[in-house]
């Protein structure tokens, strides 16, 4: 029995190629001389071959199920079309992906700078917008875009820390979390007021204004011109003007005596003139504050008279 087992093991080793040369010789000798051993060897060889065939069939079946159609049957045209489609989709997706956050930031920043004005102060004005003005902090005015708000005075620059004293511009109402208040300058822009608006009379920020602050006059839009006009009292500049980017700033006491802005369109372009106290003053576009000098050309004065009278 043990001998039989040894022979089986020998045959197994022989068929699996794990046999020494010495034992190989023994097996081959037995095959040649012992018919019974030979029969067992043939049986075992057939079994091992069948096992190998089973494995081959299994591997073939496995390969048969590997999807290879995609790798060799797709026409080049389709590949190009697919590539173009993917590239287009990627570009479109990237466009929307990168453009949308910008829109959100824009909205968010507006929201952040919005100040809610109490109803009992300015009923028709839902909000006052505060924007950062980087240049000349001490001379930047607080503007109210309406003629009917003349009672709002004397605050060319409104810093947030100063506005703490104002009942209408309390820090709680300023939604501006990330910017230090001490370095902020604000421009308060009120949307156009209706003529019958009376609440503006009650709006008074004089309490917040110090003695050194200049008086603020509202910005007005001349009836015959696209130029925005605002008047401003300034310590340094008296009877001066500044015309820059369609905004005319008149420095001096322009509240008490009426003035007019004349616009003349000629072949040389649009020219602006100020009529004030029976004198005409030519207004040239300039970024610097310039003194107002009266027009002396009599011909021009006559023309201006005609224009003024025909208005």
């Amino acid at each position: 029995m043990a001998e039989n087992l040894d022979y089986r093991q020998l045959i197994d080793d022989y068929l699996s190629d794990n046999i020494s040369i010495e034992n190989r010789t023994v097996v081959e000798h037995k095959i040649a001389t012992e018919p019974e051993f030979k029969n067992e060897f043939e049986l075992q060889r057939n079994i091992v071959n069948a096992i190998k065939t089973t494995r081959r069939l299994e591997l073939k079946n496995h390969l048969e199920n590997v999807k290879i159609q995609w790798y060799h049957k797709i026409p080049t045209g389709w590949k190009v079309a697919a590539t173009v489609s993917v590239a287009s989709l990627t570009a479109i997706s990237a466009y929307f992906y990168f453009s949308e956050p910008l829109k959100r930031i824009e909205i968010g920043s507006n929201d952040a700078f919005e100040i809610a004005v109490p109803d009992n102060t300015i009923p028709q004005k839902p909000s006052v917008q505060i924007t950062e003005i980087p240049e000349e902090p001490s001379e930047t005015p607080v503007n109210f875009a309406d003629e009917g708000t003349k009672n709002i005075t004397d605050k060319p620059t409104a810093r947030l820390e100063e506005s703490k004293a104002s009942p209408d511009l309390t820090p709680e109402k300023v939604k501006e979390p990330d910017v230090p208040e001490t370095s902020k300058e604000v421009e308060v822009v009120v949307p156009e007021l209706v003529d019958e608006f009376e609440g503006a009379q009650e709006l008074d920020i004089e309490d917040a204004a110090g003695d050194n602050l200049n008086k603020i006059n509202p910005v007005r839009k001349d009836l015959y011109s696209n130029t925005e006009v605002k008047t401003l009292r300034h310590k340094k500049f008296d009877f001066h003007y500044e015309l820059h980017e369609g905004i005319l700033t008149l420095y001096g006491n322009f509240e008490e005596i009426p003035y007019e802005i004349l616009e003349i369109n000629s072949s040389e372009g649009k020219k602006l003139f100020l009529y004030y106290r029976n004198n005409y003053y030519m207004l040239v576009s300039t970024e610097e504050v310039s003194p107002l000098n009266p027009v002396t050309d009599t011909t021009l004065i006559k023309e201006l008279e005609i224009v003024k009278n025909n208005k």
């Binding site: 699996s16 057939n46 071959n49 069948a50 096992i51 048969e64």
Partner: protein, 179 residues
């Protein structure tokens, strides 16, 4: 995947290497057969056989690569297709009856043994295939099938082989095989 990586995977018995080669060279190898009077089915059959031959050789540990894998597989495909063409030619010229009779007898015997193999459980079948075809060591088989150690795999293999022998012998007497 580099050739060296493919061979490393095959040495570990990872069939994914076979899939990779199959996809990568499918067009090249089948074109060889198709452009030499073969059908697409024959081309696929030859290519699959060639890959399995390559797998066996690589698994045997006796393969010394002196060329790229693609060149080696290409030469196997070429030889297999030549043999197939010779076989076809021989079948069309010789008398078929005797050959067919011997083939049928051999096929029937193999089919019976394969049936017996399939009667074994999946684990037994795997152990025997890994041992006799893939040439995996007992240690590798233990690892692949999650056995605690090599001895467990050895015992399992012995029992599975014994069971298969009994099954085969129960269906046919020795004289049926030893003609």
């Amino acid at each position: 995947m580099k050739d060296s990586e493919v061979l490393a995977k095959i040495s570990r018995g990872e069939e994914s290497a076979l899939d990779f080669l199959y996809k990568k060279y499918y067009r090249m190898m089948t074109k060889l057969v198709i452009s030499n009077s073969g059908t697409e089915d024959e081309a696929r059959d030859v290519y699959q056989d060639a890959l399995i031959v390559f797998w066996e050789k690589a698994r045997s540990g006796n393969l010394v690569m002196t060329s790229k894998i693609s060149t080696f597989i290409y030469s196997i495909c070429l030889n297999l297709w030549r043999k197939e063409l010779e076989r076809k030619s021989r079948l069309s010229n010789e008398e078929k009856d005797d050959v067919e009779y011997q083939d049928l007898e051999s096929e029937e015997r193999d089919r019976i043994i394969r049936d017996c193999i399939n009667e074994l459980g999946d684990t037994c079948r795997r152990i025997l295939m890994y041992y006799y075809f893939d040439g995996l060591s007992m240690n590798d088989i233990a690892e692949k099938l999650g056995y605690a150690n090599t001895d467990t795999a050895k015992t399992k293999k012995y029992k599975c082989k014994k069971r298969l022998d009994e099954l085969v012998k129960s269906k046919y007497t020795a004289s049926d095989f030893m003609d």
